[in-house]
Structures are given as C-alpha cells and as structure tokens.
C-alpha cells in the first residue's frame, strides 16, 4: 500500500520539462513535446491526407499511461 504522504516531494517548477505544465496536465511539455508525431492514412497518396498529431501521455511506474486526448 502506498503512503498517503509522498516520501519525496518534488516542486515541478524546478524540474526541466515540467515547469511549463499547466495545472491539471500531467505531462512535461504537454502538447508541445508531442508536436512531432506525424500520421497519415495507409493509402495517403490516394486520400491526400497528411497529419501531425500530438497527445499528452505519461509513463507510470507500471507501464504506459495515456492521458485524455484533446
């Protein structure tokens, strides 16, 4: 069982990548650091879609956590 009081307290304003995170968002750099995810349809040449996607995700101790996409 995890302690209700954190044993190590971190001030995000002092952490690289986390200092610009808005309240309620968990991910450092949030949208900005995922600006580089590009995607397209498998048949994109025919459909003509290019896309850039960004999403806030974080990684929990137990694995990968996807936050709510905007």
């Amino acid at each position: 069982m995890k302690a209700t009081t954190k044993r190590v307290k971190l001030d995000r304003s002092k952490l690289f990548g986390f200092s610009q995170v808005k309240p309620g968002h968990t991910d450092p750099g949030a949208e900005a650091r995922r600006a580089g995810v590009g995607m397209k349809t498998v048949g994109s040449k025919a459909v003509g879609i290019k896309a850039i996607g960004i999403k806030t995700i974080g990684i929990k101790a137990t694995g990968i956590r996807s936050a709510v996409p905007r």
Binding site: V8, G17, R33, V42, G53, G63, I64
Partner: protein
C-alpha cells in the same frame, strides 16, 4: 550535489534563432538541454535525501558526464519516468530508472537502429509510447520487417547523399541534432483510410526520431521527413526554457497538416516544419542535384508545402499569442517563405 556548469553561463550563438540551418548552434542547444537535465536530476537527488537506493558516487559521476558529453535520447525519457515514479511514491521504481539512466553509455554520432519488440523490451516501449497522435488515434508500433528496415536505411542514405550534394548546411544540422533514427513499423491495414504513424519526435526523446520503415514515398520523401522531424527537434531545443505560445492547449484551431483541430502549439510546429520542408526541396531543386525523375515531384511538393504553410501561418497570425521567442522563430520561417 551541485552542477559544475550553470546554464545561465552558456552564451547563445548569434544565429540561434535563424531559420536557415546552422549546425554550430546545436552544440549550445544540446549542452543546455543536458545541463537542465543535470540540474533537475541533482534537485531530485537532494529532495530524495538518501531514500533512493542508488550509489551516490555512481549518480554523481553520471551528472558530471552528463554535463560534459552527449547522452542517448532515452536519458530524457528515463528522467521523465523517474519524476512520475516519485510522484506515485514508487521509490524502488524511481531508483531502478535512475540506475538505468546512469548506466547509459555516452552518445556519439548518428546511429540508425531497429525498434525492438515493445512487448518484451522496456526501451522499445519507451520509444513506442511517444508514437501517439492523440484525439483517440492511437497507433500500434512494431519492430520493422528486415526488408522494410533495409529499404528505409537505403532511403535515408540516399536522402543524406542528396542533401550533402545540394543542401550541405541542412545535412550538417540534422547530423548534429540527431543521435538516433529509430526504425519502426505501423499497421499495414488493407483499408486505405486506416491511419498509421509516419514519424515521431519528442522533447523527452531529445535527439531521436522514430520513422515508419514501411514508408513508400522515396528518397525525396525521406529528405522531407528528415527535414520535418529534425525541425521539431530544433524547436524542442530552442524552447527548452520558455514557451513559444501562450494560447491554452484547450483552444483548438484548424491545422494545416491534420484533419482535426489542434492546439496552437501544434499549429505553430506544423507551420514551421512545413517551411523547412519547402526550403530543402527548393534548395535541392535549385542546386541541380535532383534527377529528372524527381523534378516533377519536387515541383508538386513545393506547391503543397507552400499551400500548407500559408494555411498554418494564417491561423498562427490570426489566433496565436506568441511569446517573444515564438515570434523570433516563426518570423524567420515567414521571411523565408515570402522570399522563396
């Protein structure tokens, strides 16, 4: 455990915000990223106050190395995971991650690697976690098939050959920015409207790009992909200490490169990288290095990139609340497109 170098003591090069490629500025950006990482790791260590099961000597030696030498891109994602683990009060996990981080070898040069299987390999899971487009469009990421990986390597080689001949400044900047090109595979769905990932980069994988090895748009497409993803890395480095836009991420706008509305920071990135793609195609076309078979494609790409840039910059100028840094960087892209 203090830093031996203060980030504030780094002198930025005069051409730091230039739109044109400048390989020389990357050393400054890379060192600033590493020093900020070292400062944050030192802060974490002090806050932990002996509660992390890791040798202090090993940790300190790593911080010294981090301040002096480039590190693999995974260093940033391991740090990010460490923060999350501490916030979850899982100090054993945090110590394990820091152990992994301090065991990373120094980085040197640009390497191309195949993604391992994310189901069995923790590093592969880290890379794969960044290939995530949002808006409910999640992608499965797989190790590339050997044939696809070999073909992709050939395209990368061909792309660098073209840039070395026709745009050596960009080739040099890309080699300076990138430490790893990670080849992966997306879904090969027979439905032509199925979505797959194209490429990815992230600030917490500074120096890495992830490419879909199944791509089929040839050498000129690879040139643009490298220009595109490296430009994201460049922006990540440039905005390490301050934001580019002040628009809240909840505000969504039409994107030049995506069918669904995106936050202003995404529009900003897309607009900038599109200008960089236009620039490299134009440079190659004007230098005469493109074979005849690619000249028609180059003309179409130039027109497409210009149209997409104009869509993007219109949204940025109409709705973007840019910081001074954001203004300085995008102004260069605008000036280039106006002159091209």
């Amino acid at each position: 455990m203090g830093s031996v170098i203060e980030t504030s003591s780094l002198a930025p090069p005069e051409d730091l915000y230039a739109f044109e490629p400048v390989a020389g500025r990357v050393a400054f950006l890379d060192q600033r990223m590493r020093l900020r990482l070292a400062e944050s790791l030192g802060y974490i260590w002090l806050q932990a106050n002996g509660q992390l099961d890791l040798s202090p000597d090993r940790f300190e030696q790593f911080l010294i190395r981090l301040e002096r030498h480039p590190v693999p891109p995974l260093a940033f994602s391991l740090y990010c995971e460490t923060v999350f683990a501490i916030e979850e009060d899982d100090l054993a996990q945090a110590a394990g991650l820091l152990g992994e981080l301090t065991g990373l070898p120094p980085a040197s040069g640009l390497t191309i690697i195949n993604l391992a299987d994310p189901r069995h390999d923790a590093s592969a899971r880290r890379y794969a976690s960044f290939v995530d487009a949002g808006s409910g469009m999640d992608f499965e990421v797989f190790p590339p098939a050997p044939k696809a990986a070999a073909s992709c390597r050939e395209q990368i080689r061909g792309a660098f050959d073209l840039m070395d001949a026709g745009d050596p400044e960009l080739a040099a900047e890309i080699r300076a920015l990138l430490r790893e090109v990670v080849l992966a595979a997306g879904i090969e769905d027979p439905d032509p409207k199925a979505m797959t990932f194209d490429g990815a980069s992230a600030s917490m994988l500074w120096g890495a790009i992830i490419l879909n090895a199944n791509r089929r748009d040839g050498t000129l497409g690879m040139v643009q992909m490298l220009a595109h993803e490296s430009a994201h890395n460049l922006i990540f480095g440039l905005c390490a200490e301050e934001p580019l836009v002040e628009n809240p991420p909840e505000e969504l706008y039409p994107s030049p490169l995506r069918v669904d509305p995106r936050p202003m920071i995404g529009i900003y990135h897309a607009t900038f990288v599109t200008a960089r793609m236009h620039r490299v195609v134009r440079r190659l076309a004007e230098s005469g290095v493109l074979p005849a078979s690619l000249q028609e494609k180059a003309g179409k790409e130039l027109a497409d990139n210009r149209r997409l840039f104009e869509q993007g910059i219109r949204v940025v100028r109409e709705h973007g609340r840019l910081t001074a840094l954001g203004e300085a960087i995008i102004r260069g892209a605008e000036a280039y497109m106006a002159s091209a």
